[in-house]
Symmetry: C2
Subunit: 203 residues, 2 copies
DNA sequence: GCACGGTTTAACCAAACGGTTAAATAAAAC
DNA sequence: GTTTTATTTAACCGTTTGGTTAAACCGTGC
């Protein structure tokens, strides 16, 4: 019973994830999620009382996945360039496993910005400590021509944007050839590392 | 009469732009657009037969605005670093005037990727020529550690992403303080220039 | 005054959607 | 074997939404 229970609930979650991530809250239909899960609408409401509730669980899961644990990297006994490379490695791995996450998060946070504060509080994420870690490392390395805030935004931009803009870039760069775009994204990791490294340490 | 005619249609367009850009196609309501334009729903359908038609005109306008004319910059008698700075200047100006454009385009292209090809064909945009221009300039400068495709994506990422991710970054960096975020975005232009410059020319 | 086109009003329609309900059924738990 | 729980079926409800219609209103040009 418990096992089947979990299976069905997991099926629903999986289906909801698939539909919500691609279509967003407004675009998603409960019927479609039920179909995708291979069940009927009534059972959906039997497990999750409302669309809002189901969405919340999906969004929370997505948000958690989107915030990687970077503190251990920051606290490790490595040099700043090594740490930055590790952060990029982790982020690229995360994004390759969840390519729809960026656009989903952007869309839903844009729709309801208040939920962000709740999430940050809920999971105790403290970006300011990351910033101050970064700042300390930067002064140690004598990097003064950029602030830690801008560096962080640069790292996030270079990593995340190409996933959110996949359809546009795919057509701009490769005339919609999926294989070429995948190849481009796979090799991109090293280009990002090199780009950031040069921007920071060769001046 | 003709003048009033234009005014009303312009009012509708303006209202539709405001609503569609913030809420997207699925989130937008015809009633809300009518209210925003100070008219009634019937008159909306009198001018634009359907939501789809009205949206198309807004999206087309937005898309056109989002594709800046960069060919003159590329063809000008300037050095590559100067050209890159000019491109960044133009993009930042464009984005400051239309901060909602990035998320809107991303969202709608994600919803209906096919419309992209139509747009590119309709306006004769040829990104491949831009790439080859860039490639020529890069070989001239002896830049071999990055491909023009990755450089283009880097430029787009660094410029566009912070606008699409405004709510997230605003809370991450400045605890939702709007003034601080605005100041951050204003000073960002020069940081982007410097970052790209260092990444390209100091290795 | 008359005609005409922009505009309003208000009622209305059909479809879609989130959600509910009740009865029947199957399966697992005890 | 009985009870409980999961699941299906299918009808149904209330609301929202895009869209239509018809009648009246109003300003301008002729």
């Amino acid at each position: 019973m418990t096992e089947l229970d979990i299976t069905t609930e997991a099926q629903i979650i999986q289906a909801a994830r698939k539909v919500f991530l691609v279509k967003g809250f407004e675009g998603a239909r409960m019927q479609e999620i039920a179909d995708e899960a291979g069940i009927n609408k009534a059972l959906l409401h039997y497990y999750f009382r409302s669309k809002e509730k189901l969405f919340q669980s999906i969004f929370q899961e997505a948000f958690q996945r989107f915030i990687p644990s970077l503190y251990d990297v920051m606290l490790s006994e490595k040099t700043l360039p090594e740490k930055l490379d590790l952060i990029i490695d982790r982020y690229q791995e995360l994004l390759f496993e969840n390519p729809y996450l960026p656009q989903f998060i952007l869309q839903e946070v844009n729709r309801n910005p208040e939920c962000l504060k709740t999430m940050f509080q809920k999971f105790g994420v403290q970006p300011s400590t990351f910033i101050s870690f970064l700042e300390k490392e930067m002064t140690k390395e004598g990097i003064t021509h950029i602030t830690p805030q801008h560096l962080l935004v640069n790292i996030l931009s270079l990593n995340i944007f190409p996933f959110a803009a996949k359809p546009i870039l795919s057509i701009i760069l490769f005339n919609n050839n999926k294989d070429e775009y995948l190849e481009f994204m796979k090799e991109r990791k090293e280009y990002i590392k090199l780009f950031i490294h040069n921007a920071l340490f060769k001046s």
